[in-house]
Symmetry: C2
Subunit: 533 residues, 2 copies
């Protein structure tokens, strides 16, 4: 295999630790071109224990300064990162394309999303109401005891360790939501680079480093460590200075970090988004209205990005009977015609093939349709089964990462409800029906509400809107903490905690809690929401 | 020892499981009169595995109905509980006094706090803005892709297991904040009765059962299980139907439940409030202004409730020099004169005596003052040491539950800062100083902010105000989850999670998310807080 040269000024294969670069470990690994399998220059040095400790120590030492930095400075930091991502131009996209095989149009779109969400977070942090300020005035004359003056707001939680996702090298990686919301909250970040796109990570790490320098913040608030071994990640989670962990990836990976964090003398929160099968429930009325449209959009959602989304629809429930047969047939045809695609890396492709083989071998499951393509590409696969088989074979409810889904034919509403109740925690569930039909399936909707973070009507779960109301989360094993979302501005809550001031002199309080409300933010004053003084 | 009869109609020593009572386990334990050591009738049956499973199954089966109950009904439930606590009159207070040795005046005050906080939660739930509704309108014409309509709000998390505190038999036990905020959120509750006041628990359990009946909710939303063994508690935490755990008590107890919860196949959150030493930092200016007043108020805070508060001030920093000597001497005198008191039970008293003995034996620590009293009562104890000893002997930073505190004499601001940095997570820290002085100690304040949930100026940490801005929480080991408070209306957040609806028909949305905002609650609409439609 040939080796492709990249400009060494851009990628050096070293750890970025605060303002310095470091490569003290002789052990290295190389990135591969996902499309061709070619090795990419340069080799990357695995972070060693000293580098990990140095990065976390710098984060810890700069935590206090960063926590007390103005919201304006934090907003400027985010905007400088957004600018830097655009300024990096094609060099960044080219390297990203080589490491991930994601098409350039997709990467241009993902970059736009990343830049837009970073600017949205900057807007939120600058506006200031996100701190959930509460003021309860005291009353010296109250009997039997004087009432103290009590005020609280959210503050930063401390240094955050971020593990990015393989499937969103821009939007959920080094400069993704985890890093930028942690920065917004005033938390230093130490990123573990994803070993499937280490060069992209380093390029973005340099953009962040430059942004920090440009706004005059301490360089120690950001480090980027390389590593293919699990040891680097676990050492970061175990480090005494680490206050929280954000992770996007597999259930096995997320759970391992979660367990490490909880074995600490002082456990720390792990926000792991670990994916799900995102079931789609098709009610009879929907098929009557638009069977062909559903089939086409379903396969579009399933094969988008070669099925490599955590919101990929891995299960679809279709009624038995003629109309359901027709929808099933139509889905099979669209699947057979779907273009194959190169997956993010060979490990993911192997796991996908194993998952499809496992489904094929399951008693009571029939492989309905498989697209064909070269052996190094993933082909859309559709299996079909019934509710009884699904209830017996719980492995059918496990996520297979890639363009593969199982059709479950149901006889009646009560079978659909059974499936809903058998589900583990999910990021999403989707209902397709006529408007009138929804009210007839209240028990199904209520059952699904208990299982998911997001409930979609007549749409598909892929393509997550970055907005205030978005919940990209859900009960375990979709995530490790259903209180939070990992996409959208509300993701900042993960990296904050409330702090309360009792009877503090007004001029010693943060501006957000002062009587005059100098920042004009929304606050809860004596139990009532107001922007008044 | 004599046995005291209580009306058996009130206390039967059985599990309350939904609408039924159960006593299938032959193994029993008895409560003791904390003042006299007398055994109290009747014996209490330990809950067995079948009873635990039945209670959790009923909770699970009623979870959906309760989650979809109107806020008005939930508010009425809380008000019925508050009424029931008052209607129970002296019989409840008498039993509580017998089981805890807490003075009647204190219990009357605690009952008032419990009733008031329950009514405050009813008010909050009825008003409705607590659901944090967010509406982001869609845009079908947006390019390159239509923007979906996305709306989210907090929903109930599912069945909650509650472990009450020994030291607040009314305000933090069966009808305490944990139970009533879980009910407010629409979560069924299974309480593990505290074995030190099981009769009080059963009486309150019956009040709750009656309240549930009165408002017509399913009886399965509440059960009360008795047990002195750890097995009952751990079995409740392990049960598949349990969605969250609330606990107030020791670090060892809270951590054990936390570890059990995290070993589950699907881990669940444990909100454990585990106490702290609540350091008090006295700056020179405060001594100049009011030395005698500080000494008196400090000993008042330390000995209140025989020192049995999680916010008890276990460490006080006083400058070296003449004025500090005078404050130290004055504290010693007030401590020597403090009345001894009966502790909640003999186990707590034994642990207190062991803790005081441990401090006495620590190199570099001198026992400065000890009140005298009968051997079955706890006497106020004050030790004194310096910063170097504190830095060497970290056991001095461990909580001793009871009227015991250590004075640490410091030479300068940098020594004070050293102590602040050495602290583990705390519920509170307190500063005493002149108004001008505070601004000179910004590094100390910033260091303490990273360690505590509540920062108090010129007051004392005991006597927690129940209000919206209160944070009774803090970094580990003060609690197991610094995101939340366990006192005040915001405690409801522990039992909720956000759920998102995408492109749902308006009439299928909960009222809180409908376009017309029929409940008139505060919402975030397209990023802006408003009560408008």
């Amino acid at each position: 295999m040939t080796s492709i040269k990249m400009p060494t000024a851009l990628i050096q294969g070293k750890q970025l630790i605060g303002a310095d670069s470091s490569a003290t470990n002789a052990q290295t690994f190389v990135a591969t071109h996902s499309g061709t399998g070619a090795l990419l220059d340069p080799p990357f040095h695995e972070a060693n224990a000293e580098e990990i400790d140095l990065a976390m120590t710098l984060a810890s030492e700069s935590a206090n300064i960063f926590a007390n930095t103005s919201f304006e400075t934090r907003a400027k930091l985010l905007e400088a990162i957004a600018d830097g991502l655009m300024d990096a131009g094609e060099a960044l996209l080219d390297r990203c394309h080589a490491e991930t095989a994601l098409p350039m149009t997709r990467l241009i779109g993902e970059r736009a999303r990343t830049v837009n969400q970073t600017r949205l977070f900057a807007e939120m942090i600058r506006e200031g109401s996100w701190v959930e300020a509460k003021v309860d005035h005291g009353d010296a004359d109250r009997t039997p005891a004087a009432k103290p003056d009590v005020r609280s707001m959210l503050i930063s939680i401390g240094p955050v360790v971020v593990f990015g996702a393989s499937n969103f090298p821009l939007a959920i990686s080094v400069a993704g939501t985890d890093t930028t919301t942690a920065f917004a909250a005033g938390c230093p970040v130490v990123c573990k680079a994803h070993p499937a796109h280490p060069g992209t990570c380093e390029m973005i790490g340099n953009i962040i480093r430059d942004a920090i320098k440009a706004v005059g913040l301490p360089p120690g608030i950001f480090s980027l460590l390389q590593g293919r071994s699990h040891e680097v990640g676990h050492a970061l989670v175990e480090h005494p200075a680490t206050a929280a962990v954000a992770f996007t990836g597999s259930l096995a990976g997320g759970r391992a970090l979660f367990d490490t964090a909880n074995r600490r003398r002082n456990p720390i929160p792990v926000y792991a988004e670990m994916g799900s099968i995102n079931p789609v429930f098709v009610l009879p009325g929907a098929i009557e209205e638009r069977s062909e449209q559903i089939a086409q959009a379903f396969i579009g959602s399933l094969t988008m990005g070669v099925g490599q989304f955590c919101t990929n629809p891995g299960l679809i429930l279709i009624p038995t009977g003629d109309q359901g047969d027709q929808l099933t047939q139509s889905i099979a045809e669209h699947a057979a015609a779907a273009a194959p695609g190169t997956m993010l890396h060979s490990g993911i492709h192997d796991a996908f093939n194993e998952g499809v083989a496992r489904i094929k071998q399951t008693d009571g499951v029939q492989m309905l349709s498989q697209a064909s393509g070269p052996s190094d590409q993933a082909c859309c696969s559709i299996a079909v089964t019934d509710v009884a088989t699904l209830q017996r074979e719980h492995s059918l409810l496990e996520e297979i990462f890639g363009p593969c889904s199982t059709i479950v034919r149901y006889d009646n509403a009560s079978e659909m409800l059974e499936v809903a109740q058998a589900l583990e925690g999910q990021l999403t569930a989707t209902l397709h029906g006529s408007d009138n039909e929804l009210s007839e399936h209240q028990p199904l909707i209520e059952a699904l509400q208990q299982k998911v973070g997001r409930l979609i009507f007549n749409g598909f779960p892929t393509g997550i809107e970055v907005c205030h109301a978005m919940v990209h989360g859900g009960p375990y094993p979709a995530t490790s903490d259903a209180h939070f979302t990992s996409i959208g501005p509300a993701a900042i809550k993960r990296f904050t905690r409330p702090l309360c001031f009792q009877d503090f002199p007004n001029d010693q309080l943060p501006p957000e809690l002062q009587d005059s409300n100098p920042r004009g933010i929304m606050r809860m004053v004596d139990g009532v929401f107001t922007r008044d003084q």
